[in-house]
């Protein structure tokens, strides 16, 4: 757990002065932030801007998880990496950029694939989880691990010219499975490699994720629990949707849960936990 900071240093006061004078934020908000840890699952198009703004704002600890390495085709949207980081682990490259921006943030890179074997142990060490992954099995895995560990999940996704954001498992609201009890048919899932994506769309959604994480971490609270924020970049239109409550019948957060430990999510979804090759040959 993070050491409790009793007061801000003079350097903190200088660095964060523009936030400290916000009545919604203040010194207490900054102290709360410095005592909060966030696990960023995926250091791609969403995770890059998210990690950037969490670190800039002075989050206490950020875990940066990604199994992948930086490729040229990532750079149009994964803006923490550079041409010189091609071939490096994304987690390491993102950590390097984050430390350059704010060396007072504790920054832990994890160059690994989140799996049913390691997810609980990792997530238990963090206060808030941000899902910036790119595939269906990982989204169910992260959700279940957050429900089983009691952590709020700030989840965003993006494809082509559209984005979606919801805060799950937060203040009695629904989880991902409450909304989507069954996974979609694998042939209907389009990933960024196949469907394309305009880089600034995950940029906007990742910044939004950072905003909601910061509101939770500072103590203001998120306004996106039980809400779906939909973004259409073509029309520059946002829409806020009121979602269902937590479902009594939910397999993981309901009254008689059948998912009481993590399962095989690739099998459950019929697809692989990477956006590289889309379907498992079962």
């Amino acid at each position: 757990p993070l050491k409790l900071k009793a007061a801000l240093s003079n350097e903190d006061i200088m660095r964060y002065s523009r936030q400290l004078i916000l009545p919604e934020f203040g010194v207490q908000g900054q102290l709360n932030l410095s005592q909060t840890s966030v696990l960023v699952v995926g250091c791609g198009g969403l995770g890059c801007p998210l990690a950037q703004y969490l670190a800039a704002a002075g989050i206490g600890r950020v875990g940066l998880l990604d199994y992948d390495e930086v490729e040229l085709s990532n750079l149009h949207r994964q803006v923490l990496h550079g041409e010189d980081s091609q071939g490096q682990a994304k987690a390491q490259s993102a950590a390097h950029a984050v430390r350059r921006l704010n060396s007072t943030v504790e920054c832990i890179p994890y160059h690994l694939q989140l799996s049913p074997e390691n997810a609980l142990q990792l997530i238990q060490q963090y206060d808030i989880v941000a899902d910036c992954s790119d595939n269906v099995p990982t989204r169910y895995l992260v959700n279940d691990a957050c429900v089983l560990s009691g952590k709020p999940l700030v989840s965003a996704s993006a494809l082509k010219m559209e984005g979606q954001l919801t805060v799950y498992n937060y203040r009695g609201g629904p989880c991902y499975r409450c909304l989507y009890p069954k996974p979609p048919p694998p042939e209907m899932v389009t990933n960024c490699s196949d469907g394309g994506i305009l880089g600034v769309v995950p940029g906007i959604m990742g910044c939004f994720q950072a905003l909601e994480v910061l509101k939770i971490a500072s103590g203001q609270g998120s306004s996106c629990g039980q809400q779906l924020l939909m973004f259409d970049a073509q029309d520059a239109k946002f829409r806020s949707i009121r979602l269902r409550s937590k479902q009594a019948s939910c397999a993981v957060c309901g009254e008689n849960p059948t998912v009481t430990h993590l399962v095989d999510y690739e099998k459950f979804c019929g697809s692989a936990a990477t956006d590289k090759c889309r379907r498992l040959n079962l």
Partner: protein, 101 residues
């Protein structure tokens, strides 16, 4: 006899690809003896709008997993799902969940 009603349909998140890539549709549901509900709307969409591979939109008598249905900017679960009775000028959105990042 229920009078014909005009509703606004929207498809997004990729679901529009099943409808000629057109995101917004204004449709008029014809007269029928009982009020239109969502269950009948799905049958009507399947019969009148879906050109091919209807199983990618409807499965059984409901939408396939991974499509969220919104009625007037609220999750249809809050509105009665398949039993919701459509009103003139209702806005119904079918949105595919996105997973990319």
């Amino acid at each position: 006899m229920a009078a014909p009603i005009a509703i606004h349909l929207e498809f997004g998140g990729g679901a529009e690809l099943l409808f000629g890539s057109v995101k917004e549709h204004h449709v008029t549901l014809p007269n029928q003896s009982a009020p239109w509900d969502m269950k009948q709307l799905l049958v009507w969409i399947r019969g009148n709008m879906l050109k091919e591979r209807p199983e990618l939109f409807v499965q059984g008598d409901t939408v396939r997993p991974g499509i969220l249905v919104l009625i007037n900017d609220a999750d249809w679960e809050l509105m009665g799902e398949l039993e919701y009775e459509l009103q003139d000028k209702d806005n119904v959105v079918f949105i595919s969940t996105l997973h990319g990042g």
